[in-house]
Amino acid sequence: MLDIKNLKASVEGKDILKGLDLQVKAGEVHAIMGPNGSGKSTLSQVLAGRDAFEVTDGSVTWDGQDLLAMPIEERARAGLFLAFQYPVEIPGVSNAYFLKAAVNAVRKHRGLPEFDAMDFLTRVKAEMKAVGMKEEFLYRAVNEGFSGGEKKRNEVLQMALLEPRLAILDETDSGLDIDALKVVADGVNRLRSPERSLIVITHYQRLLDYIVPDHVHVLSQGRIVRSGGRELALELEEKGYGWIGDAGEIHAAPPAAGGAQ
């Protein structure tokens, strides 16, 4: 279980998170919604351990461990996965090599035997099929020259291979047309299980038509200002973020399909 208490964080001296509380139990799917600048991405980056973000107060416990004291790669190996809003390109490094190195780092940590090339290929090809990626993407450099949709599929592929206990999807829906969105949502839904927790960060309720959350939270100015069930997302879609009170932006209309990031 993930327990975030009074979390405050700043970047370059600017306070972004101002006392955030959130509990995510095993098997639950939580959606975090909010206008631009409310701190959604900061939350995901802080949980993953990015050092540009400074935690100034509060605590994050994950299955009894102090998450904030763990190095980035330790968090990953323990099963925390962040699907990036903007997946990073690594020229010269093949996707296959990158994925195999990551999968084996995680398996080693979990006391599982490392995959050899054949095991790995069998496994990765099956997962690629499931997310609709062609095999050629194995031999291309990590995310280099991928379209927005291909990058997001690659994130879902990595998530499936790494079998996380806690997955955070940071605006994974942005820049996707409706077909790509369905593929990504399918991939995420396949991962739902009683042991696995998911945090889905999104600006729009559209994604939640496909990934149905157990809980919905509204983030505004660094705090969770409303929590509720699935219906809260629908309410937001109808009324926009303006009615929340202190939110900065009124914006509720879903984006045009296939819009660029």
Binding site: D51, I72, A76, I90, P91, S94, A102, A105, H109, L162
Partner: protein, 483 residues
């Protein structure tokens, strides 16, 4: 946050110690510091050289006296006092080793620490090793087997004694003593090196390998390598270099000449790991080397592959003169400069024959306060109908205190020439490291993976065992069998 940051981890990764920095205590036969005609006469006499070679050295010396060190390279260092250098140092020996069993065990241990056990390595890998320790070649393995093919692979001094006619015919015909300041100095004082001769039609059955190591203090190492491949012959030659850690700078001014006659092929690979100095720039080797290949015959092919990770200063431009029609020249290079290292390296491709082709692939990696310069010249002579060149220069920056420069020069004097040049610069970003670490990799593994990916095209040109060594040198773990 209390966790280690990617930036800090890069620093500790870059601060790894020089692992070849041990010194071997051997009794040495060393001349006093300084250079004069008398010193040259002594060197020549100690080596029992024929008169023509002494005269050649003296002429080079007189020429050198009229020359000044080149100033155009993008490197800076205090002026070298050429009278403060020892020009000859040899491990003391009674009668000279006739076989490996007679070689000083201390010396063999040094090679083992370097990963060149003459016995095992040579036998297991099928590599013939000619090891140059300071200035005298210590042991040459596999000479007999090579001899059956008519191949000559021995120290330069030995070649002077056993095949003076070949030395006389080819020495200085690619890099004349007057070529440049350091080549002139080398010609005057060179003490040893390697000599390879592959007769007509013979494909050398094994990789030939030489390890150079600078051991004695204040020693300049001036080795001379001469490789000749006659018509239709081929050879792959590997050169590895290391030096112990020292506070003072040591000069290394070598000359390598390659000659390929009709249809001959020479592949020359270097992994250079000279001591680079400490992280504040104290000590380290000055590596001022002239390497040049002459595609003298039609359809000949000369290929340079270098991985330069060491030296305080590298000044080196392995070049090819494409004289024969349809001849081919390649240059593949990885140069890493970390801490205060300065590398000014590149190549010259001189197209003289018709339909000559050259490829230049340069990968420069700068980290810490390192400075990396690529300097290239592609010259297409008026008679070089149909000449083609493709050049690609890529720079990778690690951290924000380092520098990368690219100075390509193209002189095309024939309208049928095709010359292409591509260049890129990229940086290992904090975002790339964070991404890889979020997938469970350590910062070290992430940097290694990115650097390895960057260098892949060059590493694949290296013979297998050298490719492994090159990856290790860059702190790169071996890649899996896929990808």
């Amino acid at each position: 946050m209390k966790t280690a940051t990617p930036a800090r981890k890069i620093d500790s990764f870059l601060d790894q110690e020089y692992s070849a920095g041990f010194e071997t205590l051997l009794e040495a036969d060393t001349l006093p510091k300084g250079l004069s005609e008398d010193v040259i006469r002594v060197i020549s006499a100690k080596k029992g050289e024929p008169e023509f070679l002494l005269e050649w050295r003296l002429e080079a010396y007189r020429r050198w006296l009229t020359m000044t060190p080149p100033k155009w390279a993008a490197v800076s260092f205090p002026e070298i006092d050429f009278q403060d250098i020892v020009y000859y140092s040899a491990p003391k020996k009674k009668d000279g080793p006739k076989s490996l069993d007679e070689v000083d065990p201390e010396l063999l241990k040094t090679f083992e620490k370097l990963g060149v056990p003459l016995h095992e390595r040579a036998r297991l890998a099928g590599v013939a090793v000619d090891a140059v320790f300071d200035s005298v070649s210590v042991a040459t393995t596999f000479q007999k087997e090579l001899g059956q093919h008519g191949i000559i692979f021995c120290s330069f001094s030995e070649a002077v004694k056993t095949h003076p006619e070949l030395v006389r015919q080819y020495l200085g015909t690619v890099v004349p003593p007057s070529d440049n300041f350091y080549a002139a100095l080398n010609s005057a004082v060179f003490s040893d090196g390697s000599f390879v001769f592959i007769p007509k039609g013979v494909k050398c059955p094994m990789e030939l390998s030489t390890y150079f190591r600078i051991n004695a203090r204040d020693t300049g190492q001036f080795e001379r390598t001469l490789i000749i491949a006659e018509e239709g012959a081929s050879v792959s030659y590997l050169e590895g270099c290391t030096a112990p850690m020292r506070d003072e700078n040591q000069l290394h001014a070598a000359v390598v000449e390659l000659i390929a006659l009709d249809d001959a092929k020479i592949k020359y690979s270097t992994v250079q790991n000279w001591y680079p100095g400490d992280k504040d720039g104290v000590g380290g080797i000055y590596n001022f080397v002239t390497k040049r290949g002459d595609c003298r015959g039609a359809r000949s092919h000369i290929s340079w592959t270098q991985v330069e990770t060491g030296s305080a200063i590298t000044w080196k431009y392995p070049s090819v003169i494409l004289r024969g029609d349809d001849s081919v020249g390649d240059f593949h290079s990885v140069a890493l400069s970390n801490h205060r290292q300065q590398a000014d390296t590149g190549t010259k491709m001189i197209h003289m024959g018709r339909n000559t082709k050259s490829t230049i692939l340069s990968k420069g990696i700068s980290a810490g306060h390192g400075s990396n310069t690529f300097r290239g010249l592609v010259r297409i002579a008026p008679k070089a109908e149909g000449a083609r060149n493709y050049t690609q220069c890529d720079s990778l920056l690690i951290g924000d205190q380092c520098a990368a420069h690219t100075f390509p020069t193209i002189e095309a004097r024939n309208p049928t020439a095709h010359v292409e040049h591509e260049a890129t610069t990229s940086r290992i970003g904090e975002d790339q490291l964070f991404y890889a670490m979020q997938r469970g990799l350590t910062a070290e593994d992430a940097v290694s993976m990115i650097v390895n990916g960057f260098c892949r095209e060059v590493f694949k040109e290296l013979p297998m065992e050298f490719a492994v060594e090159a990856q290790n040198l860059l702190g790169v773990s071996l890649e899996g069998s896929i990808g």
